[in-house]
């Protein structure tokens, strides 16, 4: 992430603090706890307004809730736009590549991502909010995928997992340079594919079979999760993505193995494998909830809680769906939800006291 992006996040936090302060001040005045004189109020309002104006002009931060909502909309639109433009680039090339000679095909394939990368720099300079840089960045990433996959096709090259590594490194360089989170996600997904393929080859199997063993993703998920502990001096939000996607990979792998034990590397009957992963699922989810609370990572806590519930409901379905009257099945599900609610409420209270 560049300095500007980092400062933008700090600026946005400052703006949010000012608005919270103003709201709290109104409440305090209404309850009579604190009343500022007209002069003090004026002075404070002028001071905050100046800060808001400066930050808005320098960093293009959201200075109202409406602006915040619009910013979210713009982020979604920029992602959809990027996906659509990337698809357009892909289909445009496929539509006409057969009409070009091989040197032209190669030249266009190489020039595409290079020009798009320069386009990211240009967009980032022109627009502080980076919406357009996100679009161009994703197009550059898609062009690089097109670049390597079509070169492989033109020259009949044997498929290799190294392509995932190249795509991951490229996406992460752009993500870290310009602070583009969507490219960080793209890089993480490619890195996960590469690591899973590499882990798969440890057992001697062909790399393209890596998807057949969910444990490959489990290991790559743990590796990604551990990347999140590398200190990010300026990139405050980036470790979260490694944590989130790493744990997501771990949870989904466990979920699959808890239901389809035959997909495991472990050479014991499928049922036993399923039992192992069912128990592991609850333990891992519990540990993640505990770790999330301890580190004050609310999203990670929620992720753990969500998968804890999913594992539990999957088990209920396996045990009771077939033979139990449906009204009773849903009643139990509902009661368990109430129980979990009470449990989390207690947990919440406990953390409140600790805080």
């Amino acid at each position: 992430m560049n300095d500007h992006q980092m400062q933008k996040e700090q600026a946005q936090k400052r703006v949010d603090r000012i608005f919270s302060f103003r709201d709290e001040l109104v409440s305090l005045e209404q309850t009579g706890v604190l009343t500022l004189s007209e002069d003090q109020k004026k002075q404070l309002t002028t001071y905050h307004d100046d800060i808001l104006r400066t930050l808005a002009s320098q960093f293009d931060v959201d200075t109202s809730s409406v602006q915040k909502q619009l910013s979210w909309g713009m982020r979604i639109i920029s992602f959809l736009g990027a996906a659509a433009i990337s698809a357009a680039v892909f289909f445009f090339f496929y539509r006409y590549w057969g009409l070009l000679t091989t040197p032209w095909q190669v030249a266009i394939l190489i020039a595409g991502p290079v020009l798009a990368t320069l386009g990211v720099e240009f967009s980032a300079r022109k627009e502080k909010t980076l919406y357009f840089a996100t679009i161009v960045g994703l197009v550059a990433f898609a062009s690089f995928i097109l670049n390597l996959s079509v070169l492989g096709k033109i020259f009949n090259i044997t498929p290799s997992p190294n392509a995932f590594l190249a795509w991951a490194v490229f996406a992460l360089i752009l993500a870290y340079t310009y602070g583009l989170k969507i490219l960080q996600i793209a890089g993480i997904l490619c890195l996960m594919s590469y690591l899973s393929a590499e882990v798969g080859t440890w057992s001697g199997c062909y790399w393209l079979s890596f998807g057949e063993r969910p444990e490959n993703f489990l290991i790559s998920g743990i590796l990604l999760f551990s990347i999140s502990f590398i200190p990010h001096r300026k990139l405050y939000d980036f470790p979260f993505m490694y944590r989130f996607f790493g744990l997501l990979a771990v949870f989904i792998s466990i979920l699959i193995l808890a239901d389809w034990g035959q997909l495991s590397y472990i050479m014991i009957p499928a049922e036993q494998v399923e039992h192992i992963y069912q128990i592991s699922g609850f333990i891992v989810a519990g540990l993640v909830i505990w770790f999330g609370i301890r580190k004050q990572w609310p999203t990670i806590t929620n992720l753990g809680a969500t998968f804890f519930a999913i594992y539990l409901y999957t088990k209920f379905y396996d045990w009771w769906w077939e033979w139990m009257p449906k009204y009773l099945f849903f009643l139990i599900i509902g009661l368990v939800a109430v129980f979990l609610l009470l449990l989390f409420k207690r947990l919440r209270k406990y953390t409140e006291v600790k805080t």
């Binding site: 057969g98 070009l100 190669v106 991502p113 290079v114 690089f144 070169l151 009949n156 044997t158 199997c205």
Partner: protein
């Protein structure tokens, strides 16, 4: 930071492309690993899968699909007779569990595919065996046809199927495999008849069976066999300067003169009759065992 990031990303793009292209150069320079002439029977314009078939209109490139005879209608009892336990062990499959062990089936079913090199033989001994097996089957069906109406109908169907197989079936067969391509080439030195190519192979466990009419009243013990799941480069791109002949074939199909050029399952049809292959391809394999099209010629 920003400047360095931009430079690093562009350098990465250039380095990766240079690496890929130098690999292509290495493959195509020096020794020719195989130099072989195949026809539409072995290199078809058939769509690789449903997705590529559905996107046909959007793709202006032309690729040929390498077809192995082992995959098509088979007249022998097993597709890869040579691919036994010994060969599987050579490739790296751990076959240490005794086949009589009650857990053997479970153990071998869990094994994943491996990468190795296979030898593809063109118009060789295997093809001759297949042809003769087909002819024997036809003779047998002809004899049975005299027994009644149903048998006669069956004979006509078999005759059609065999005629199509002999005229349009791929004559390219996987005949051997090893992790050492150099030793394979020494064993099969004829570069105009044998291709050595990387492939994905799998292991199969066959359960033993009690004596019955199907196995001539003999008890069959459990066994292991291998299978060539996929040749790793089976889509071969036709460079633009050599695409005219396959393109003409596609145009004919579009006009309605021919049928089933692109669609797997109904190849080589013209007005409801089996047609002759349209083109032949000269294919080279290089140092990295990767192919490229050298020439495309019309079969007259």
């Amino acid at each position: 930071m920003k400047k360095y990031g931009l430079i690093a990303s562009i350098i990465l793009l250039i380095l990766v492309n240079a690496f890929v292209l130098s690999g292509v150069y290495y493959n195509r320079s020096g020794n020719t690993e195989a130099y072989i002439e195949l026809t539409e029977r072995e290199l078809a314009l058939e769509s690789f899968d449903f997705f590529s078939y559905a996107l046909d209109k959007e793709n202006s490139g032309i690729s040929l699909h390498l077809k192995m005879g082992n995959d098509s209608y088979d007249f022998s009892s097993h597709k890869y007779d040579w691919f036994d336990q010994k060969k599987l062990e050579e490739i790296g499959f751990n076959c240490s569990k005794p086949l009589s062990d009650p857990k053997a089936k479970f153990y071998y079913h869990k094994m994943l595919s491996r990468k190795t090199y296979v030898v593809l033989e063109y118009e060789g001994k295997t093809w001759e065996e297949k042809k003769s097996a087909a002819e024997t089957k036809l003779k047998k069906a002809a004899q049975e046809a005299q027994q009644g109406k149903e048998a006669k109908k069956e004979y006509e169907e078999t005759k059609d199927r065999i005629a199509r197989y002999l005229k349009t079936g791929s004559r390219l067969f996987a005949v051997d495999a090893s992790n050492d391509p150099v030793s394979l080439r020494k064993k099969y030195p004829d570069v105009s008849q044998y291709i050595i190519t990387p492939a994905e192979v799998t292991i199969h466990f066959q359960e033993g069976s009690e004596p019955s009419e199907c196995n001539n009243n003999k008890k069959t013990p459990p066994s292991l066999s291998g299978d060539v799941q996929e040749v790793l480069v089976r889509e071969i791109h036709v460079p633009p300067e050599k695409r005219q002949i396959p393109e003409n074939l596609l145009k004919k199909e579009k006009k309605g003169d021919l049928e089933g050029v692109r669609f797997t399952g109904l190849p080589f049809y013209k007005n409801g009759k089996i047609r002759d292959p349209y083109y032949k391809i000269i294919l080279k394999y290089g140092n990295r065992y990767e192919p490229w099209v050298v020439d495309v010629k019309r079969i007259l």
